[in-house]
């Protein structure tokens, strides 16, 4: 597109057309950290643009500056070539820039219709539902995907909520959509549907989309251009249809050395170690969160549990960790009944890395050394006479683990909440994997981690498998499951609906089972 043409689109009356957006030299500094360093990106009108980068690369900071959540220290936002002043999300909304966040911004206790109407800046003082409902239905009929209007949002599925978030922006007539990892809560099928329809709308020039993503597959399939950030700087941009995944990933990771992944050792038929027999547990409201889960895991095997989030995976891990009472069924290890309590964890050598380890596996304000001693603090050498705790051995053990697992911390005595996400994850792994492991339960171990940490943590899990541990891996990242598992199980509606050896299945089949077909 020539400069003349850009100028033309900028001056033309573009009320209902997709706008273009540029940032010029965006810089944002948080204390000592330069989160964004002179980033200039350009999103053409009617394009589907991907914003790539590792965690902490500055993608969120950039879009938050565009949306007016943060005031940039330097730099400007240009909408249709004209500089605009966005001081708050409200200004962004008035300019027609809307964002779908990773967490939902819908109000759970309101219905879909109430959520749509109240999001309007000109929502009437008294809402005449008799007049509004037909208008909403007419709007819905024009849209590429539908959501039931009269249902309370808390009763909608994650996919429906995500669609409603996007519908809300379109309802508000926002023509520049920023999507922050929109497909993390969707099944592969739903993701393809939503992105495909948005892509068509963009191609018709109705909207412009800027999508933050980690998933190269989606970027390749749906986006037409991309920009990569690394450590707050722009490291590349280009045409998503012609660039290769290798090119994009090297722009993302740079020249960081990545540890080799452990080889997969082939085991012959081994005995089942962990057996879940008809596990049932209820959620807070008394509905079955997991419903008769049956699964056997053999020694030296990783079973990956795939599923759209909210289908009982978290409840299953909580039940195994003793955080959620079982209402029925039993857990057996080596054929003996296992109860999720401290003495049994010890006796059966069961270890785990739950999701959000800072919340679920540590005491945030206690020191790194203390947190690393949770499995062993009441045994010699840390305890003598059965009750006397000696800090010396505790500290020495922590120092050893810190260096062996490369946990970055200023000292073993600093509170564990001061560590970055990846280092908390490493510290917990160090604690859990330092002994002999028979059963390992891992949930979303790499969520929110950078590339290098991901490779390292996955190789640790693989090492435990090779040593003969039975590993239960729950993950929302299908790629992770495909990479690590020996067998895949799919959880849908609180139960395991599909199990298959990794060699006899593929992404599509798994996706269909995730969607409950």
């Amino acid at each position: 597109m020539s400069a003349q043409m850009i100028a033309d689109t900028a001056t033309a009356p573009t009320a209902k057309r997709a706008p273009s957006l540029e940032t010029a030299g965006m810089t944002k500094i948080f204390g000592p950290l330069v989160a964004l360093d002179g980033v200039s990106i350009r999103v053409e009108a009617g394009s589907f643009h991907a914003l790539l980068g590792e965690n902490g690369a500055g993608k969120s900071t950039l879009v938050k500056c565009i949306m007016g959540f943060y005031a940039a220290d330097r730099g400007a936002v240009l909408l249709d070539g004209r500089e605009v002043d966005v001081k708050s999300p409200r200004d962004a909304r008035d300019l027609g820039i809307g964002m779908v966040y990773q967490h939902f911004t819908l109000v759970p206790c309101l219905t879909a219709a109430e959520n749509l109407v109240i999001s309007r800046a000109d929502a009437p003082t008294i809402i005449d539902w008799k007049a509004e409902m037909p208008k909403l239905e007419a709007f819905m009929a024009r849209m590429p995907f539908q959501v039931p209007l009269d249902r309370q949002v808390s009763t909608l599925s994650a996919g429906e909520k995500q669609k409603l978030e996007i519908l809300k922006l379109l309802y508000l007539d926002q023509r520049f959509l920023i999507l922050d990892e929109p497909t993390s809560v969707l099944t592969p099928g739903e993701a393809d549907e939503v992105l495909g329809l948005l892509g068509e709308m963009a191609a018709r020039g109705e909207i412009t989309v800027l999508m933050i993503s980690h998933k190269f597959r989606e970027v390749k399939a749906f986006c037409d251009s991309f920009t990569v950030l690394r450590r707050g700087r722009l490291t590349g941009s280009g045409d998503a249809r012609t660039a290769t995944v290798a090119e994009m990933s090297s722009m993302m990771i740079g020249d960081t050395e990545v540890r080799e992944r452990a080889e997969r050792v082939m085991h012959n038929d081994r005995a089942a170690v962990l057996e879940l027999a008809g596990l049932c547990a209820e959620d807070e409201e008394g509905r079955l969160a997991i419903d008769r889960v049956n699964l056997k895991i053999r020694s030296g095997e990783i079973v990956g549990i795939a599923g759209v989030s909210g289908n009982g995976q978290s409840a299953l891990v909580e039940a195994l960790a003793g955080q959620r009472p079982l209402s029925d069924g039993g857990i057996f290890i080596h054929g003996k009944a296992f109860e999720p309590k401290r003495s049994d964890f010890d006796r059966f050598k069961v270890f785990g890395l739950p999701e959000e380890p800072l919340k679920n596996a540590t005491v945030p304000r206690m020191s790194v050394a203390e947190n690393m001693a949770f499995r062993a603090f009441d045994k010699p050498p840390m305890t003598s006479l059965g009750w006397w705790l000696s800090p010396g051995p505790m500290r020495r053990k922590a120092e050893e683990l810190i260096s062996r697992y490369r946990v970055k911390t200023t000292s073993p005595d600093s509170p564990i909440e001061a560590l970055s996400g990846g280092n908390v994850q490493r510290a917990v792994l160090a604690r859990e994997l330092s002994g002999e492991v028979d059963v390992l339960i891992v949930a979303n171990p790499c969520f929110g981690l950078d590339f290098a940490s991901v490779a390292e943590i996955r190789s640790q899990i693989m090492e435990q498998r090779n040593r003969g541990a039975a590993v239960l891996l729950v993950s929302e990242d299908l790629d992770e499951i495909l990479e690590l598992s020996d067998r895949v199980a799919v959880m849908s509606g609180g139960t395991i609906s599909y199990v298959s050896p990794i060699g006899e299945t593929d992404r599509n089949t798994i996706g269909q089972h995730m969607a409950g077909h």
Partner: protein, 306 residues
């Protein structure tokens, strides 16, 4: 107990329910409004007692009981607004502030209320709804204060407004998900400040009923924890204003058991029956804590729910 006695007891309980429930109703509606915005105000007991004192003093000084009611509301409004303002400061716990305001409000009322214990102020007039029956006990029971009807109308209005008015939806949004409200450019603190202030106004009006109608005098033992029980009542009513009215009537009827039995000469267990509302509160709290449906209807931002 004869049939006539039973009739008298029933009528007395209906009358008692109407009389006793009104302050419960106002405090519960005020609390409901506050909690819908995502904040809990345990200080309504203070609003109630201060409202009673101010209403009595206002009625005595101006000669108009309705002016007294308005002044009581304003006193409650000020307390509510102070609570709302303090709670928006960072890391302030609304429950602790509420308990402080409970003591603050009652203390203030006792301090300024001393001179008004003796004098007699003009009371609110009741509407005689039962005179046509010619039955003295029915006529006595159906002496209904206009505030009772105001309370019911208010409950229906709130119920309607939570669904059909812009501010109602914004209030529910703020109470259920502060993050969403912020993303929409709503000032969460302002909404909560206004809701707490308006809730405080209603609790103050509830207090006016105590001193100006039933029991109908100002003294330091006037309130017996109605302000606190109203909080339990809101939970029991699952944050629905119309259900608050029914819950208040139920509490009122429970409170009227003792006096109505006494009216036919049964005074055994008088103290036990007087404790009925409190025992009821206890059981209701246990029952509603066990109810799994209640968890779904609670505003998501309440500190007791989180």
């Amino acid at each position: 107990m004869t049939g006539a006695d039973l009739f008298i007891v029933m009528i007395a309980m209906v009358g008692g329910a109407i009389r006793v429930s009104t302050p419960f109703m106002f405090v519960a509606l005020g609390e409901c409004l506050t909690e819908k915005s995502g904040r809990i105000n345990l200080g309504h007991e203070g609003n109630l007692v201060l409202g009673a004192m101010v209403a009595y003093a206002g009625s005595y000084t101006t000669g108009s009981p309705w002016l007294g009611v308005l002044m009581a509301g304003c006193a409650g409004l000020v307390l509510g607004a102070m609570h709302g303002w303090i709670c928006k400061l960072p890391r302030v716990n609304d429950i602790a502030v509420g308990i402080a305001f409970m003591s603050f409000g009652t203390g203030l009322a006792f301090f300024f209320g001393k001179p008004y214990i003796q004098p007699s102020a003009p009371r609110l007039e009741a509407i005689p709804l039962g005179d046509w029956t010619g039955n003295s006990s029915v006529a006595q029971a159906l002496q209904v204060n206009p505030l009772f009807f105001v309370g019911i109308a208010l409950a229906v209005f709130l119920w309607w407004a939570f669904r059909n008015m812009r501010w109602g939806l914004i209030l529910r949004m703020t109470g259920d998900s502060a993050a969403s409200a912020k993303a929409m450019g709503v000032s969460v603190d302002l909404v909560r400040l206004l809701a707490t202030a308006a809730g405080g106004f209603l609790a103050g009006v509830g207090g006016a009923f105590l001193s100006l109608f039933y029991p109908g005098s100002w003294n330091e033992g006037l309130s017996s924890g109605q302000g606190l029980m109203a909080v339990a009542l809101v939970i029991f009513a699952r944050w629905d204003p119309v259900r608050c009215v029914f819950a208040a009537l139920l509490f009122g009827a429970a409170g009227a058991i003792g006096p109505s039995l006494q009216s036919i000469g049964i005074s055994q267990g008088y103290y036990f029956f007087n404790a009925a509302p409190y025992i009821l509160t206890l059981f209701i709290m246990i029952a509603s804590a066990r109810s799994k449906g209640a968890a779904r209807e609670a505003p998501g931002e309440l500190s007791i729910v989180k």
